[in-house]
């Protein structure tokens, strides 16, 4: 390993798991800094990746300076206010030879952009249908190029959906589609896929993410204004992808150009 004394910036699941990983590899993880007042990682990861090894987690805190020339010698951290700006006078020097940045992922869309595909402003990935086919027929997108996933299991499932779609396309089994849109409102940040063929012969699973932490909330799904599902969820968090299934018969009953909305209601 290239370093021995580590500071980690970012306390999502990747930052937390890297803290444990580097500890196992013989490093001393001195601190995990988190800009936000909460960690976006799972509580179980805070317990078994930080608390188990007495690694401190500093919330509302960020790295404001890095020191050293040939090699990192230390970082300066500072507390941040509600607007995430460093508070002068709270700076603290921490000696370390490694700074691990775990500050979020962005889909790599050089190819998608080059092909002129429409990108979703929230996911930063291309707009797709239920087979993960982009607006360009025969071009499919899945995995972190489409939207950033928390669990690899979802990436596998998504690749199978796109693979099935690509096979149908090659075999010429694709009939002209009549799309209905999907939309996240009231706390739902985004929905993938962004549009679905209302003539779909099978049920369609919609994946979505919320923008805040909710305890005991309801997830409501409406098709053309009519509520088709209303489920209680003990916990919803921005870091955890959720999904709902839209039945084929519900889709078939919709009019072209209709809208499926997903929303959260706090109880």
């Amino acid at each position: 390993m290239p370093g021995r004394k580590v500071v980690i910036l970012g306390s999502g699941d990747i930052g937390l798991i890297m803290a444990r990983r580097m500890t196992f590899e013989g490093a001393e993880v001195k601190l995990v800094c988190e800009l936000m007042p909460y960690s976006s990682g799972l509580t179980r990861n805070i317990v078994q990746c930080l608390n188990d090894f007495n690694i401190p987690l500093r919330l509302s805190c960020t790295v404001v300076g890095v020191h050293g020339k040939e090699r990192l010698e230390g970082v300066t951290i500072a507390n941040v206010d509600e607007t995430r700006k460093p508070i002068p006078g709270t700076e603290e020097y921490i000696e370390c030879d490694t700074l691990l940045l775990s500050v979020g992922l962005i889909p790599e869309n050089e190819l998608s952009r080059g092909m002129g595909l429409t990108l979703d402003r929230v996911t930063n990935g291309p707009v797709v249908n239920e087979y993960r086919e982009t607006e360009l027929p025969g071009v499919f997108a899945c995995g972190n190029v489409l939207h950033v996933h928390d669990l690899v299991d979802y990436v596998t499932l998504e690749s199978q959906i796109a693979g099935e779609g690509a096979a149908r396309y090659i075999k010429g089994e694709v009939q002209p589609a009549e799309y209905v849109k999907t939309k996240g409102i009231n706390g739902v940040r985004y929905v993938v896929p962004q549009h679905v063929n209302r003539k779909s012969e099978s049920d369609v699973k919609l994946y979505f993410r919320v923008g805040d932490v909710y305890k005991n909330a309801r997830v409501k799904v409406s098709c053309a204004g009519k509520v088709v599902s209303d489920k209680k969820k003990p916990k919803l968090a921005p870091g955890e992808m959720e999904n709902v299934i839209i039945k084929a018969e519900v889709l078939n009953a919709m009019k072209p150009g209709g809208e499926i909305t997903i929303q959260v209601e706090a109880i």
Partner: protein
Amino acid sequence: MHKDMVCVACPLGCSLTVEIEDDKIIAVSGNTCKRGDAYARSEVTNPTRSLTSTVKVCNGKCPVIPVKSARPLPKKLLIDCARELSKIEVRAPIKIGDVILHNILGTGVDIIATNCTREK
């Protein structure tokens, strides 16, 4: 006395409380399933964790192979076990489930491969 903890059995992360009297567990509350009850009892008496790491492969297509403990290990031995794994090197081919290290540090728990690799 009582002890508060967060369950790590699944991603839900229930807040648990264990009531203890004269070194005996009287009650577990806050759990929403049986696994939470078992976790709380083990956490008070003998805390355990699954270990995941990597082990070097000397002749493999991949330079390292991911491994895990076949069963949870005593929590206090985790770092020692990780150090033990950093010392060893295995030979390809390796299949998923192959025992990489038998009975690590006398715990009775095997370390097994969670991926496969062919020879270089």
